[in-house]
């Protein structure tokens, strides 16, 4: 392939001529500084290149070196616990090499070439294998068994394979495909813009529990599902995403900081090694991959970062894991697209975004799903994708929000008004929705409680009633309400403050198991029902609201998981206190 010559430099966009033989999405190196870039438009021999590094000091006439290979990620042991930039360069290694600031032209591969991993074969010589079959495993971290799969497109008989300590570039297995012998290394590459193959998609019937009460109880996301969390600045997108990354019952987490703050990534780097997974008791970092292309890092690499992240996530899905990917924020990705598109002088669509915004967003979320993986085993894997969206002024008519809502099944609507009152998570309970509620119903009824939806439905009804009653109060005052309506207001407040409100920074409150969520809400509904009877028998709301048990209800969230009976016992207390109210004859 021929070396090209730069004819134009405009910010992250470089145009080169003489690029005969190049293909779309091929990686190139720009100038003798060897800045990494990707071809995003080809017109004859003229290629437009988005450059993943700062282009200051680059000029017309400098060379462009094609590589002939598309932008790809390196897949293999060593991914977990890594922190990469948008094009999978390890940020820790970059720091070792270049210091505290990111300089240009640094080339470090995504996976360590020196490190040796203990490989244990799972197939024998002579065995027939097909794509997706597990050749062997590496215990990558205490939490993750890294399964080395037969790469897509390779089928045949195992010639030789043996246990041992290998680097990712050593050959661990040879496969006779009939047309020759393929050498299999632990290191595999995959082009980021092409989804990895699977056998078929399955219905998203299993909930992914997140430990966040408003999510799990009211607006659940399922394993393999998609969700979005739009909201104005400071409303809690990042905190929610961090909470999901910490407490979701997924086996692998891929967290993409896409065009957001540097300190938020530092926060994850400090916290995750210290926090332990409630299920395994091991540090959360042991199942996490981080991609950090912060807002001040080159904008083209930001565009690539979501693809880098989702390809890594698919790779673990293919091993049969439940994977959850968080992208904070997809708006910054869309803006990167817009910036490049503007420089290409493409015809702008809404708000200057390129016309293909919607299709790019859709095909990104389409890579989520619960699937049957390749391989004889028929393993099941899942990839859930949760994207934050940052619309200007919090305005949901924003093109990125709209494009996202067209494809995702869960909408957690963050609201400034709630955030200002420090009601966290500031997810609006009336406008949010989950289309998975029906899918996960059977699972919830079998595994949580038979009356789960009765309780949950009643709570939601109370919240809806509250909204209507508040309108009335605003017009005519509280006095005008009946006792029963006043009770609705009291209990709805309890649901909001004692159940929905959840402080991410409180050591206990930060995570609530679904079991505990159910018991908490059941207590509140029990209080409502008992109070309703009491009112029918003449009790007043002011008496009910003065009951000492209310304080115990308010503090349920702070009771640790291992003292669940303490929360359970509140129910009897409620019955007792209400029935002992004066004027109530039982």
């Amino acid at each position: 392939m021929k070396e090209g010559r730069i004819i134009r430099v405009s910010g992250p966009l470089v145009v080169a001529e003489g690029m005969k033989g190049s293909r779309m999405y091929d990686v190139v190196y720009v100038s003798d500084k060897k800045l990494m870039g990707e071809i995003i438009e080809l017109k004859g021999e003229i290629a437009s290149i988005q450059v993943y590094e700062e282009t200051g000091g680059i000029g017309v006439g400098e060379p462009v070196y094609p590589t002939g290979a598309p932008l790809s990620v390196e897949l293999g042991p060593g991914l977990i616990e890594s922190i990469y930039d948008g094009v999978q360069r390890p940020l820790d290694k970059i720091r070792e090499m270049a210091g505290d600031f990111i300089t240009r032209g640094i080339h470090i591969p995504g996976l360590d070439r020196e490190k040796k991993w203990k490989f244990s074969p799972k197939v024998k010589e002579g065995e027939a294998v097909e794509p997706g079959d597990i050749l062997g495993v590496v215990q990558e971290t205490v939490l993750v068994e890294h399964r080395i799969l037969v790469p897509p497109g390779i089928k045949g008989k195992v010639v030789d394979i043996s246990e041992g300590e290998y680097t990712v570039e050593d050959v661990v297995c040879r496969i006779d495909t009939g047309a020759g012998v393929e050498e299999i290394k632990m290191l595999q590459k995959w082009p980021v813009r092409i989804p990895r193959p699977y056998v078929k998609k399955l219905a998203p019937e299993i909930p992914m529990f997140t430990g966040q009460r408003i999510i799990d109880t009211f607006f659940p996301v399922s394993k393999g599902g998609t969700a979005c969390i739009p909201g104005p600045f400071g409303s809690g997108k990042t905190v929610t995403q961090h909470q999901l990354a910490k407490w979701s019952d997924a086996e692998i987490i891929v967290y993409i900081g896409c065009g957001e703050r540097g300190n938020e990534m530092t926060d994850v780097l400090i916290e995750f090694p210290e926090l332990v997974d409630p299920k395994s008791g091991e540090p959360l970092m042991k199942r996490t991959v981080l991609i950090a292309n912060t807002s001040n890092m080159p904008v083209a690499a930001r565009e690539a970062s979501v693809y880098t992240g989702i390809t890594i996530a698919e790779y673990f899905r293919d091993m049969g894991y439940s994977v959850a990917l968080m992208a904070d924020s997809t708006s910054r990705w869309a803006e990167a697209m817009r910036e490049i598109s503007g420089r290409l002088e493409e015809m702008p669509g809404e708000e200057g975004y390129p016309a293909y915004l919607g299709s790019r967003v859709a095909s990104f979320y389409e890579r989520a799903g619960r699937v049957v993986c390749l391989g004889k085993e028929q393993r099941e894997g899942s990839l859930s994708v949760i994207g934050a969206v940052s619309p200007p002024g919090g305005d949901l008519s924003d093109p990125v929000v709209q494009a996202t809502l067209r494809v995702v099944k869960v909408f957690w609507s963050l609201e400034a008004r709630l955030a200002y009152a420090r009601h966290f998570p500031a997810i609006n309970w009336l406008t949010s929705y989950s289309l998975y509620t029906d899918n996960v119903k059977d699972y919830m009824l079998t595994n949580v409680a038979e009356d789960f939806y009765d309780i949950q439905g009643q709570a939601m009804k109370l919240l809806e009633q509250e909204a209507e009653l508040e309108e009335i109060v605003r017009l005519v005052g509280l006095e005008a309400l009946s006792m029963k309506d006043q009770l609705v207001l009291l209990v709805a407040r309890m649901i909001r403050e004692d159940f929905l409100h959840q402080n991410a920074f409180h050591e206990v409150d930060t995570y609530t198991s679904i079991k505990k969520q159910y018991i908490m809400l059941k207590n509140i509904i029990h209080f409502y029902e008992e109070s309703l009877h009491a009112i029918e028998k003449g009790a007043g709301v002011s008496e009910l609201s003065g009951l000492p048990v209310l304080e115990r209800i308010a503090r349920m969230k702070f009771v640790p998981e291992d003292r669940m009976d303490e929360i359970e016992s509140i129910r009897d207390e409620i019955t007792k206190e209400i029935s002992s109210l004066q004027g109530v004859n039982v």
Partner: protein
């Protein structure tokens, strides 16, 4: 010898097109020599074949096509740095304007800087006591944070910024500190107010000023925050100082950026601001922070006036999306003579959680501000309701909340320009106000702290 080009072809607004150039680099510094011999600075915005598009910092007035000479300097815009910059005043491009000598550089740095590797960052967690309750108690600032002031024209944001600069300290520490002050398009009077304040408190020799005033060339404003932050990085990470950077007014900066964008006929984003405004602002704001293994820090307070007091205007909006919180000024509080007129509900400090608590401020700090927020929010709701229905229509509890929110504005938020409250005082004041509620209302506070503080202040009140 550098080539002098006399091939200026097109001049439009702040932009100039030079043709038949060779080996020009993107981002390069350009020297423009006018027919009268005077010099201006420019920067290459785009190169295309043999044409270079240049933005001229001092404006294009007086530049002509046949006579003007252009020299490409082969490097980006650099700032000369040495410890001698302390106490000095520069223009927006970093040239001395105080009549003092040129800086003999120890190092020269490109004003665009380079992104801090996220892996190299140290999480900011050292509480800065500003002595202002609305900040310390509710929206604490920590070293290395970027916390902007969202204000409106005519509101006392500069006074508050000066008060922070005057009073800010990290408890129990005496360390090298400096203030870097970047002015963009503010009046001489405003800049002078800061200068006088620094002089009076004897801080002037620890201050570096970069001034681009209202009557200075507008396009130079694009460079000003970058030169200021380049100086700050040098002081913080080379000389190990704790640097407070005040940039005022970012709105003027953004307007200069819009002017360039319009002149380039780019597809405008919202309200005519370029689509890359977010990224551009991020390359400024993200230069604040701390770095592992380095003693110094950069704490950044950008000040901006919200056009029409509108928080959803792209300038405050995109700023809020990048910075680690915001302090919002309210015109209605200002009218009510609440001073400083900080609207605490939409204000926020995102880094507070790791900067406060036991051993930093006090164990009860987090629960306390959560409760104060919740109570004030409810009080404000009650106030709204009472405006429509009259106070009599409120429940007894709501009346109490209403009373709380009034006292809170009067006693907690309001304080003097020279009143320096200790964090202890601020926290106690919070308890004092909360003690008007029955204990069961204080749901956001842990039992142990209620036991320890609530009872004490409840009694104290009687």
């Amino acid at each position: 010898m550098k080539v002098e080009y006399r091939t200026v072809n097109d001049i439009a607004g702040p932009l100039m097109l030079v043709e038949e150039v060779e080996a020009v680099k993107y981002g390069e510094l350009v020297e423009i020599i006018l027919p009268d011999g005077s010099k201006r600075n420019g920067q290459v915005l785009e190169v295309h074949h043999d044409r270079a598009l240049i933005q001229v910092f001092e404006g294009t007035q007086g530049i002509d096509i046949p006579e003007t000479k252009v020299v490409f300097r082969g490097k980006g815009i650099e700032l000369s740095l040495s410890p001698d910059i302390l106490g000095r005043v520069f223009n927006g491009l970093g040239e001395p304007i105080d009549g003092g000598p040129e800086i003999i550089p120890v190092v020269k740095r490109d004003i665009n800087g380079a992104p801090i590797n996220p892996y190299a960052r140290e999480y900011p967690n050292e509480f800065i006591q500003t002595g202002i309750s609305a900040i310390d108690g509710l929206n604490p600032l920590v070293r290395g944070q970027k916390l902007p002031f969202f204000s409106g024209s005519g509101l006392p944001h500069n006074r508050l910024a000066a008060q922070v600069a005057r009073q800010a300290k990290v408890l129990g520490k005496e360390e090298k500190f400096a203030v870097v002050f970047g002015a963009m398009g503010i009046t001489f009077e405003e800049a002078n107010f800061f200068m006088e304040d620094f002089r009076r408190t004897g801080a002037l020799e620890r201050v570096v000023m970069f001034l681009n005033l209202a009557n200075d060339p507008a396009i130079e404003r694009i460079a000003t925050p970058r030169t200021a932050l380049t100086a700050a990085e040098y002081l913080a990470f080379d000389l190990e100082m704790h640097v407070l950077v005040i940039l005022t007014d970012m709105t003027n900066y953004c307007e200069a950026l819009r002017e360039i964008s319009a002149a380039r006929k780019e597809v405008p984003g919202r309200r005519g601001y370029p689509g890359y405004l977010y990224t551009d602002l991020a390359t400024i704001y993200e230069r604040a922070g701390r770095i592992k293994g380095k003693k110094g820090s950069i704490t950044l307070i950008p000040v901006l006036t919200m056009p029409e007091d509108d928080k959803t205007h792209p300038i405050p909006d995109l700023t809020g999306y990048i910075t680690e919180g915001q302090i919002i000024f309210s015109r209605s509080l200002h009218r009510k003579k609440v001073s400083p007129p900080i609207d605490v509900l939409p204000s926020l400090s995102r880094l507070k959680d790791k900067g406060i608590g036991k051993g930093k401020t006090r164990e009860d700090h987090a629960d306390l501000y959560n409760q104060l927020y919740a109570a004030y929010a409810r009080g404000k709701e009650a106030e709204e309701l009472s405006v429509i229905l009259g106070e009599a229509a409120l429940s007894d509890m709501d009346k109490l909340y209403l009373e709380f929110s009034r006292k809170f504005e009067e006693r907690y938020i309001t304080q003097g320009e020279y009143e320096d409250r200790s964090i202890e005082d601020t926290l106690n004041l919070g308890w004092e106000l909360l003690s008007m509620f029955p204990r069961t209302e204080l749901k956001r506070i842990r039992e142990e702290y209620l036991n320890k503080y609530y009872e004490k202040f409840k009694k104290g009140e009687r």
